[in-house]
């Protein structure tokens, strides 16, 4: 009879400066496993080390000696002792441990709920254990099953849906207005870092025609070069607005750069063809009343953050369903493993 255990530390129990001490690079994993084996007698298991967690998954013959040694080894490897070890390092065993693995693999336990990167990281950790001969039959069965459960949780609940950042919110809104973003023209006014980041999100979604305009033309040229875009003199940006579909404004101007009157006549010339304005400047660059004009959709940084927050709330509502599924699957898995 063996017991499944998870010993670890995560974003829920420790800050990044503590978590980073548990990080083990891929190249050092074989050596880390050897040391672990010498110190604890454990000879199989999986070590998952990401920026948000460090967890060791194993089947132990008992929950006494080996587990105590395992906890001490992991604690010491991250420099934890005494009360800190108790507070920061958690241990889950049996059904709860398996449910935790399923929750981790599906993104339910992630800092950004529902993110999908973690599944790849769990797969990588399992593969590494397999390469060094630490994935025995039970580990193999459990982890293979965890990948299926993660997929089921992501499919049957809405945790993987929605928006995870301001950039992805901008892309989702742009796609709701224009459909696919290829052949869409984007004008960036002001060449700030957040603007550039948002542009990169839009480029990843297919946008490839970009103009950059800044009060400093040399700076606009610099940014345009990085983005493979075209630099436009600041006094000519309104000409480009006639053709643009998306405008991202992030100048340091203390006043509005885009006014209602200007946009009102521009929209008539455009035959009210939709125009998506993203104002990420503080103070704002675009007169908020332009949102009332037909065909104009203006979102400032707060609006985009609210869109992300609403999406996060939706995912949080779905989280409970996901946890129930993880527990249900853990019960079945434990039964299968003990047969």
């Amino acid at each position: 009879m063996s017991h499944f255990v998870v010993v670890g530390i995560s974003h829920k129990t420790a800050p990044v400066e503590l978590r980073e001490r548990f990080s083990v690079g891929l190249a050092h994993v074989p050596e880390w496993f050897r040391t672990l084996s010498e110190a604890t007698g454990v000879v199989s298991g999986v070590y998952l080390s990401t920026c948000n967690r460090a967890e060791f998954y194993a089947f132990l013959p008992s929950l006494d000696g080996e587990l105590t040694r395992l906890r001490r080894f992991l604690g010491e490897s991250g420099g934890l002792t005494g009360s800190e070890l108790k507070e920061r390092l958690y241990v889950y065993d049996g059904e709860r441990g398996i449910a935790h693995l399923f929750a981790v693999a599906s993104g339910l336990d992630s800092q950004v709920i529902g993110e999908s990167e973690i599944l790849g990281q769990v797969k990588q950790a399992y593969q590494t254990a397999q390469e060094v001969g630490w994935a025995d039959k039970r580990i193999h069965r459990l982890f293979q099953h965890s990948f299926q459960v993660a997929k089921r949780i992501r499919t049957e609940t809405g945790i993987g849906r929605g928006l995870f950042s301001v950039g992805s919110a901008a892309v989702a809104l742009a796609e709701k207005i224009f459909g696919h973003l290829s052949r869409r023209r984007i004008l960036m006014i002001g060449a700030g870092k957040i603007g550039e980041k948002t542009i990169r999100h839009l480029m990843e979604a297919g946008a490839d025609s970009i103009w950059v305009s800044s009060r400093s033309f040399s700076h606009a040229q610099e940014v345009a070069l990085r983005l493979k875009a075209e630099a436009v003199p600041f006094d000519r940006f309104s000409d480009r607005m006639r053709e643009a579909d998306i405008v991202i404004s992030s100048t340091a101007s203390p006043h509005h750069v885009i006014h209602r009157e200007m946009l009102s006549s521009l929209m008539r010339e455009r035959h009210h063809r939709p125009l998506f304005l993203i104002d990420i400047a503080v103070p704002r660059d675009i007169d908020p009343s332009v949102h009332q004009l037909e065909g104009v959709y203006l979102y400032n940084i707060d609006d985009l953050e609210q869109v992300v927050a609403r999406s996060r709330k939706d995912r949080e509502r779905e989280m409970e369903k996901g946890l129930l599924l993880a527990r249900e699957e853990a019960r079945k898995t434990l039964r299968d493993l003990s047969e």
Binding site: T155, G158, R161, A169, A172, L173, E175, K176, I177, F178, G179, H271, H272, R273, P274, H291, E294, G295, Y297, Y299, D303, Q306, V307, R310, S311, D314
Partner: protein, 272 residues
């Protein structure tokens, strides 16, 4: 017709179940709901096609001679347009908007007179068949314009109010809706014009006059003219977006008034 009515009733029941399935999917995003609604829609369409096909065989002509048959064919044409648009543009949610309309049409069809209100000899004419066929296909295209307009206005409102919720995710982009709207409008104007053309030829052949005292035909002309004006305004760059969509919905409301209010009371009584 007696035996075939079973197909019609089955189709009506499945349209109702499909409408409920689609509307449920609109509020609770479950893939199973959408799949079930699609299956119900497919089943309903099959029964409806069997009913119309059977009736065609029994009567020896397309079943569009009585108000009941006309409304039934109109509903069938909308479902066919929904299928085509869903496949062509990958708009899975279109059924949530078209199916309730289809169910109401089928329901109201069952309350309409089932016998032909004109002499059978007048209606057993190829021009009449072509007239009704093209007119109803045109009506179905106009129905699609109003349904896409409704979806457009819903999405546009969510973008304007910045309420990006679950409902928002299920709707296609404004650009796609605008495109589908424009194409349905153009197709509707063309089909309806062809339908009117065949109607005029049939009228001349059977009654010996064109448009004489026929309010229905004049109103149909006026309707086509209004749709043509909307199409022309859109093509010229005006009446795009919100205003064009509102105009579409108002025009289709007018079509329904014409269909139920005029066609099935005034027209048949006057001419016959």
């Amino acid at each position: 017709m007696g035996g075939l009515i079973g197909f019609f009733c089955s189709a009506a029941s499945l349209y109702l179940a499909g409408s409920i399935g689609y509307l449920a999917y609109l509020f609770w995003e479950k893939g199973g709901l959408l799949r079930s609604a699609r299956l119900l829609l497919g089943g309903a369409f099959l029964f409806h096609t069997l009913f119309l096909g059977g009736l065609t065989v029994v009567k020896g002509q397309l079943p569009m001679t009585s108000p009941f048959e006309a409304a039934g064919f109109f509903a069938w044409a909308i479902v066919a347009a929904t299928f085509l648009s869903s496949v062509r543009y990958r708009i899975g949610i279109l059924g949530a908007f078209s199916l309730p309309l289809v169910f109401l049409l089928v329901l109201s069809a069952s309350a309409l007179p089932k016998g032909a209100l004109l002499q059978e000899s007048f209606l057993r004419d190829g021009y009449f068949t072509l007239h009704t066929l093209f007119s109803f296909l045109g009506y179905a295209a106009f129905a699609m314009t109003s349904l896409t307009a409704l979806m457009y206005l819903l999405l546009e409102r969510q973008l304007k109010t910045k309420q990006v919720g679950r409902f928002f995710r299920r709707l296609p982009s404004l650009e796609l809706l605008e495109r589908l709207h424009g194409q349905s409008l153009g197709l509707g104007v063309f089909l309806f014009l062809v339908g009117i053309g065949f109607g005029l030829i049939w009228s001349q052949k059977v009654f010996g006059w064109i448009l004489n005292r026929d309010l229905k035909a004049l109103l149909a002309f006026a309707t086509w003219g209004l749709y043509l004006a909307l199409f022309a305004a859109r093509s010229a760059g005006g009446l795009r977006g919100r205003r064009g969509m509102v105009a579409s919905i108002l025009l289709f409301g007018w079509v329904l008034i014409l269909f139920f209010g005029i066609r099935h009371s005034f027209f048949f009584q006057t001419v016959s």
